[in-house]
Amino acid sequence: MRGVAIILILALLAAFCGGCWSRREITEIAIVLGMGLDLTPDGRVGLSLQIARPGAFYGGGDTAGGEGRVACWVVRGEGETLEEAAAYLAGKVPRELYWGHSVVLIFGEEMARRGVGAVADFFGRKREPRETMWVTVAEGRASDVLECHSVLEKTSAQAAAFLVTMGLGTAVRFREFVESLADEGVEPIATRVTVREVGVTPCPGEAGAVGPHRQAETSGTAVFRGDKLVGWLDQAETRGLLWLKGRAVGQVLTVRVPGKPEGWLSFRARRQRAEIVPRLEGGSVRFDVNLVAEFDMVEQGGIGDFAGPDQIRGSERLLAGAMEAEAGAVVERVRSAYGSDIFGFGDAFHRKYKREWHEMKGRWDEEFARAEVRINARAFVRETGLLTIRAETGRE
């Protein structure tokens, strides 16, 4: 039928006459891998972008000049708003900025303390940045994190993203961060990232040169209240937080065995969940937090035979006690020091007492500070590894 031909021709004409609006050749874009936001001294927004240099990523070919070349480039721009800062960067970067493959969003500490609501709006509204990027807060400046190098990964942004993905700390996607920003019953958290000098490693910047090397690492959790950063949790406290969030799979817990001064046992959580049960008794709020975890024994010292049911029961009690202690400590610390409900107690209360919640919503901070929190943990040991007894050194 002639119809097809005519329609296809018309379509082609329509398409070509006006030009190809959204077309951006891959060689015309600057691929942003990581974004950092800092507050400039005069109170404006500083935007640092880590941009990939594709030449360094050439895979396989023998003509690759990948080694010895820096894989990325960090540019900085500033403006009243983020979009202004990005527009300013357009004058520095000879290509069009492309945000779609950015894996991390890093807030500088000062920026986070001033509030990140507007920033979240920018990234939620913009088409290219993804809901799945990781949100982190840098201790210090965000641009420092982007500027340091990773030995294993090509760029520090990718390294940071891998750390967050693979690591055992807090991992918060942008989507979850925004959800907790909007939700009244839970406050946001983010991964805390620190830049440290770590010994002496060959630095890819200067080929062959040896010098002190700066590297980004995750170091706990950033606690927000509203959209403002209020404080930090260190690695140990973060583990307590994860017990309460039911996300502690993979965490390693080590307990001392009573009665054996040299004896210790290490366990790795293989499954874990947490349940917050709110109770309203005579106007005062109480939370029963039930933690359940299953562990594998991964290491032990100074105990010898560890396979009997009694020992397993005993270690389960020890583990439960340790979990309760860690979780209890973090609840108390966050409540007293930061006054922030990052655990979602408010949401749990809302789900059960929806009418009362609507009354208490306004003064939830006080209620939360007053509320009694009882933590009740149960632990189960499932596997003990391939050994039944300790491989004694003298036995050989």
């Binding site: 077309r23 951006r24 891959i26 895979g59 070919g61 779609g100």
Partner: protein, 530 residues
């Protein structure tokens, strides 16, 4: 025996004009007839006139007219001339036969031919001579005897080259109509297999046979096929392609709506599903109709191999169907519009490859596609051993050199090569259609990204929905969905579960086989147990 040759159709009314002589009855006078024929076959050096005397009756002169090279010379001299001029007296015991009874006698006792016919029309005589038959004219009779003694010289039935298979019959059709019908008849030994012949082409007078199985083929299909063939009034038909373009439902389409095959087993399978076949003398390809899109994704072998394996292979074929149509377009969309489609590492790697390439992706893809088409065409046209060399040189050397020269990116070469190979998986004629559409989709996608690609695909799908082949929707049984017939689209049901013929093709007698054929160990068989 005495069967009339040829069938009169509308197209033959003006044969006389085309051939430059007036039709008329034969004369009783042999000389008059010979004069007429010699006038007709003036300057046809291959037509032989051989006059001799009938042994049984001295007054009766006989004349043989045949075409040298078409007629079987051994049969003409042994079975006709020797018989009539020498041996009849032995057989007939020396009886004399009157001139008036000569024709009768020759017919009944004189000729040792397996098939004869008679005619009294000059036109029929001419046609018989040109078809390779030997015409015997008897003095004093206005009737000629047509001896079907065609030369057996024809190409040997050989392996199929266009549709090679691992398992299944290897033979392919040849250029001779009768050999081809015999190949089909050998597979379907049933009187219900009907082979109707007619002649098409005013000058060429090509014999065309319509083949179908009575009772299985749709009642409306065969008259429709014959009607469409009857409409054809062209001077010559040299290949099935002439007829195909003259009988399609929709001539304005990239897609073939009549299937072509050179394998007798495939034709037999089609006939058993209720389709009709058209064989054209002089072509080793047989047309089958109605034709559905899925036929191009299926192969004969699918029905001979184990059904689970076949079902898996067909999934691969459907994947390559989609890939061969859309892969370059999708690649362009991903690389120059929707970078988020690619994983970060791949995006960076492609970006790195493309840093040195001067052209936009579209130009690059077009360069490679055109190069690929040139190589393919060269490979087809050249003698076979050379053709292979060309493709190897083209694919390996030019591809590698183009990448090294920074003319194209390696990823583009991969995409174009995969697309090209993917299109070979499909039936050849569908891949031709896809080649053209692929270019259009590529352009659309280069202009509007995925949206252009999708819009183009939608047009292709809608177009496929409008197509019919001899009244049957081209996309059936996928849409309009016939649930029972989905047993043979992507998944192929095992033979013991192929109970029915395709619903839209064989409207009558759809039951194919007995139920309960599922095999099993002796105790578990359901059939025979009840």
């Amino acid at each position: 025996m005495g069967r009339r040759l040829g069938r009169r159709t509308k197209g033959q009314e003006d044969d006389a004009v085309a051939r430059g002589f007036a039709d008329g009855p034969l004369s009783r006078d042999l000389d008059a007839n010979l004069r007429e024929l010699k006038a007709i076959f003036d300057r046809c050096s291959d037509v032989v006139f051989r006059e001799f005397v009938f042994a049984q009756c001295n007054g009766t002169r006989l004349a043989l007219v045949y075409t040298d090279g078409l007629a079987d010379k051994a049969q003409v001299s042994d079975q006709i001339m020797r018989a009539l001029a020498l041996e009849v007296p032995v057989a007939a015991g020396g009886r004399r036969i009157g001139k008036g009874r000569a024709l009768e006698f020759i017919k009944k006792r004189g000729l040792c031919m397996h098939q004869i016919a008679e005619t009294d029309r000059l036109q029929e005589v001419v046609r018989a001579v040109l078809s390779g038959d030997t015409v015997l004219l008897v003095d004093g009779h206005a009737t000629a005897i047509v001896n079907v003694a065609r030369s057996p010289e024809t190409r040997r039935v050989a392996d199929s080259e266009v549709e090679p298979t691992v398992r299944g019959p290897r033979e392919a059709f040849v250029e001779t109509l009768r050999v081809n019908t015999s190949l089909i008849r050998r597979k379907i030994k049933s009187p219900s297999l009907k082979i109707e012949t007619l002649r098409l082409g005013r000058v060429t007078g090509t014999e065309v046979a319509v083949v179908y199985i009575e009772g299985i083929a749709n009642d409306k299909l065969v008259p429709e096929v014959k009607d469409r063939l009857g409409r054809i009034q062209v001077d010559g038909i040299l290949e099935t392609g002439y007829i195909e373009e003259l009988i399609e439902d929709n001539p304005w389409t990239f897609f073939p709506t009549v299937n072509i095959t050179e394998k007798p087993d495939r034709v037999a399978a089609m006939l058993l599903e209720g389709r009709a076949a058209v064989i054209v003398d002089g072509s080793p390809f047989v047309m089958t109709m109605p034709n559905l899109l899925v036929e191009y994704v299926h192969s004969t072998e699918d029905y001979y191999e184990r059904f689970l394996f076949v079902s898996a292979v067909r999934v691969v074929r459907f994947l390559s169907l989609v890939a061969s149509l859309t892969l370059p377009a999708a690649y362009i969309a991903a690389v120059s519009f929707h970078h988020e489609l690619l994983p970060t590492t791949l995006l960076l790697s492609i970006a790195a490859q493309r840093e040195a390439v001067p052209y936009p992706v579209l130009v690059e893809v077009l360069i490679m596609e055109v190069l690929f088409e040139i190589l393919r065409e060269a490979g087809l046209r050249l003698p076979r051993p050379l053709g292979q060399a060309i493709s190897i040189v083209g694919a390996l050397v030019i591809g590698e050199a183009a990448i090294r020269a920074g003319l194209v990116a390696a990823s583009t070469v991969i995409v174009v090569a995969v697309t090209g190979i993917g299109s070979f998986v499909l039936g050849y004629r569908l891949s031709i259609a896809f080649r053209l559409l692929r270019f259009i989709l590529t352009l659309l996608s280069a202009a509007l990204g995925l949206f252009g690609l999708v819009a183009g695909m939608a047009v292709v799908i809608i177009h496929l929905c409008t197509l019919r082949s001899f009244g049957v929707p081209y996309l059936s049984p996928i849409v309009p969905t016939t649930v029972v017939d989905l047993k043979d689209v992507v998944f192929r049901a095992p033979w013991w579960a192929m109970f029915t013929r395709p619903r839209l093709i064989a409207r009558r007698d759809r039951t194919r086989q007995a139920p309960d054929l599922e095999p099993g160990p002796p105790g578990a068989r359901s059939r025979g147990r009840r």
